[in-house]
């Protein structure tokens, strides 16, 4: 660790990992409710469990991004973070908001209250006071990192990272605008939901991946930057108008069907480019970095994001297809693999890279960490397959044959059982990851004699 303010990242990562545990356990509970629908239905209804599952996911991913920014910006800008105190204040606000959200959701407090009650808009259900807190925390963060970058060295990686983080914070402001017209509500709602994960977050993802590739493979910065710019251009070109793929049949004009279909089909391109980028860098690079776990997560991130976000997204992005598949388990399959591949793997990659550095433990082999990668990944891929099968059957029975929703649910129950099993493996993998990160262990493995000596 070159700069002492990088230590901030450690606290962010720790909180993120705590929420990660809550998120996957919430997912497991939701998966169990799918096979046994009355389970805790009075105590914790399914919609609340789902809210906790999705909200904690978003919050921990964001905390991971913040942590990653606090970790890599000092190294890139070659100076300490502007203010450590502000960084911890920002975290305290976010933690307070998160606790407020959980308590409000679980006990259904202040129902209907304009400031304190939950708002009932999927993913942005947070009470208004929490939303205001998020904005304050985001402002503190942006001020803090922007000041650091402005006073220090500016690199393509920090420029793109800041562009992404500024964009995601500004787009969140649409959470405060809630028109009464439901079609309009959804139009603006997607400005956050879509333009986050298929716009600004991709910029964050590309820049963090670029940083990891720079460190892990030792390829020239110039080469990495060229890839970074191409990826970012492709992401913005396809992603912004790709928002149109959410505007099918919701009351918006018909031309969105074509804008959405054409531009969102191209959203595969940046994800393919990120996968290609990761592999080409590893091939070109000559550095034999000891942190194999971080490399595994990085390559896994590119690959699984391409399949989860790119291929599984394209599967149902054309409006003619989406007419039938909308809101079926196909969507759930895509959502799980896309979030896991693109953003969970990305966070776990930067955490795997940063933690040994932050705790002065490198060189470090992280075998347990790699085992957790394969557990989580195989569990998640299996879950994606069974949900895709469930979704295909559901689409046919419900949307083509017109059968009743609950009857169809009964006939795809077998897939929900398999999904629960897959989810259990993911949870075990996640716990193993947290253990491998949190509990210090000596597990340096000496290079075998057959291997080429390090340069």
């Amino acid at each position: 660790m070159k700069y002492k303010s990088q230590k901030i990242a450690l606290v962010y990562f720790a909180v993120a990992m705590g929420l990660f545990a809550i998120q996957v356990l919430g997912g497991l509970l939701a998966g169990w409710i799918y096979v046994s629908p009355n389970f805790v239905s009075e105590l914790l209804p399914f919609n609340i469990v789902r809210m906790l599952h999705t909200n904690s996911l978003i919050v921990w991913l964001l905390l991971g991004f913040f942590g990653a920014a606090y970790f890599l910006i000092p190294e890139e800008s070659e100076r300490e973070i502007h203010s450590e105190k502000l960084a911890y204040l920002q975290l305290a606000i976010l933690v307070l908001g998160t606790l407020g959200v959980v308590v409000t959701y679980v006990f259904n407090l202040f129902e209907g209250h304009w400031l304190l009650g939950k708002e009932g808009r999927e993913f942005i259900e947070q009470p208004k006071w929490v939303k205001a807190g998020i904005v304050v925390a985001a402002l503190i963060f942006l001020y803090n990192v922007s000041m650091t970058v402005l006073q220090g060295k500016k690199t393509a990686i920090t420029n793109i990272l800041l562009l992404g983080l500024w964009g995601l914070a500004l787009l969140f402001l649409f959470a405060f605008y809630n028109p009464h017209n439901l079609a309009l509500d959804k139009m603006y709602w997607w400005y956050i939901v879509h333009l986050w994960v298929e716009g600004t977050w991709e910029l964050v993802m590309a820049s963090i991946l670029a940083y990891l590739m720079l460190k892990l493979t030792g390829v020239d910065r110039e080469v990495v930057e060229k890839w970074l710019y191409v990826i970012v251009a492709a992401a913005l070109f396809s992603g912004i108008l790709g928002t149109g793929h959410h505007y099918y049949y919701i009351g918006t004009p018909g031309y969105w069907q074509w804008i959405g279909s054409i531009f969102s089909s191209l959203e595969v391109v940046p994800f393919f480019a990120m996968m290609a980028f990761a592999f080409v860098m590893v091939w070109k690079g000559r550095r034999d970095h000891p942190n194999k776990a971080a490399l595994l997560w990085s390559l896994g991130c590119g690959t699984l994001a391409f399949f989860g976000a790119g291929v599984w997204g394209f599967l149902h992005t054309l409006h003619g297809v989406n007419y039938y598949t909308h809101g079926t388990q196909i969507t759930a399959a895509h959502g799980h693999l896309a979030f896991y591949g693109a953003y969970v793997c990305l966070n776990l990659a930067i955490i795997s890279y940063a933690l040994p550095v932050l705790r002065n433990r490198d060189p470090y082999n992280q075998v347990l960490n790699m085992v957790s990668f394969w557990m989580m990944t195989s569990g998640m891929v299996f879950m994606t397959f069974v949900l895709t099968f469930a979704g295909t059957v559901q689409t046919h029975m419900q949307r083509v044959l017109g059968e009743y929703f609950m009857d169809v649910q009964d006939s795809v129950a077998i897939f929900y059982w398999m999904r629960f099993g897959a989810g259990a493996v993911v949870v075990l993998g996640a716990i193993l990851f947290i253990y491998a990160m949190a509990v210090p262990r000596k597990e340096i493995i000496e290079a075998g004699s057959a291997e080429t000596p390090a340069e």
Binding site: D220, V223, G254, W258, F263
Partner: protein
């Protein structure tokens, strides 16, 4: 790290502009392909709707835009042979012809609107407005870019601006026969 120069380094002009151009061609290409596919489902309606378009105006616009592209290409040549003033005049003229294109296009849009035709009229007009509207938006962007490179007139900038402008030209030359003429 690698000793051989990459193939990408040998491409003339700005790499990022090529990325944009390829992306644009993919989008317009997909748009035209879908237009032609949907046309197969109702050729009569497409033919009848096409008769509402101003073929003469569009042909005139083709001449306007190609001339403008020629001027942008000459501008780079003149700038490289140190005829800076001539290059600037050519760029401004190219931008002005872009504005002429927009005026002619705007007259056609106004005429359609007066007849009560809009993007929701039928599938033909949905595509007509999407394709020509997206293209017109690129003409607006192109005018801004041409003016910018006339102002900051390093040869590299002019080359990049001309690259973009030729793409706008090319797209129109593809749109014109498919949307207006194909019987």
């Amino acid at each position: 790290m690698s000793t051989q120069p990459s193939l990408l380094d040998e491409v003339p002009g700005e790499l990022m502009m090529w990325v944009l151009i390829v992306s644009e061609l993919l989008v317009f290409g997909a748009g035209l392909a879908v237009f032609l596919s949907v046309r197969l489902t109702d050729p009569t309606m497409f033919a009848e709707s096409q008769d509402y378009l101003h073929r003469t105006g569009a042909a005139l616009n083709t001449i306007v835009l190609v001339t403008s592209g020629f001027l942008a290409a000459r501008a780079l040549h003149w700038r490289e042979t140190a005829d800076r003033f001539k290059a600037r005049v050519a760029l401004i003229a190219a931008a002005a012809l872009g504005a002429v294109f927009l005026v002619i296009k705007g007259m056609e849009y106004a005429d359609k609107a007066a007849q009560g035709i809009g993007p929701e009229t039928n599938a033909f007009f949905t595509f007509y407005y999407l394709l020509t509207g997206f293209h017109a938006a690129h003409v607006v962007a192109g005018i801004v870019i041409l003016m910018l490179v006339a102002w900051k007139d390093e040869p590299r900038n002019i080359e990049t601006g001309a690259q973009f402008w030729h793409m706008v030209d090319l797209v129109w030359v593809l749109l014109f026969p498919v949307v207006y003429l194909l019987g």
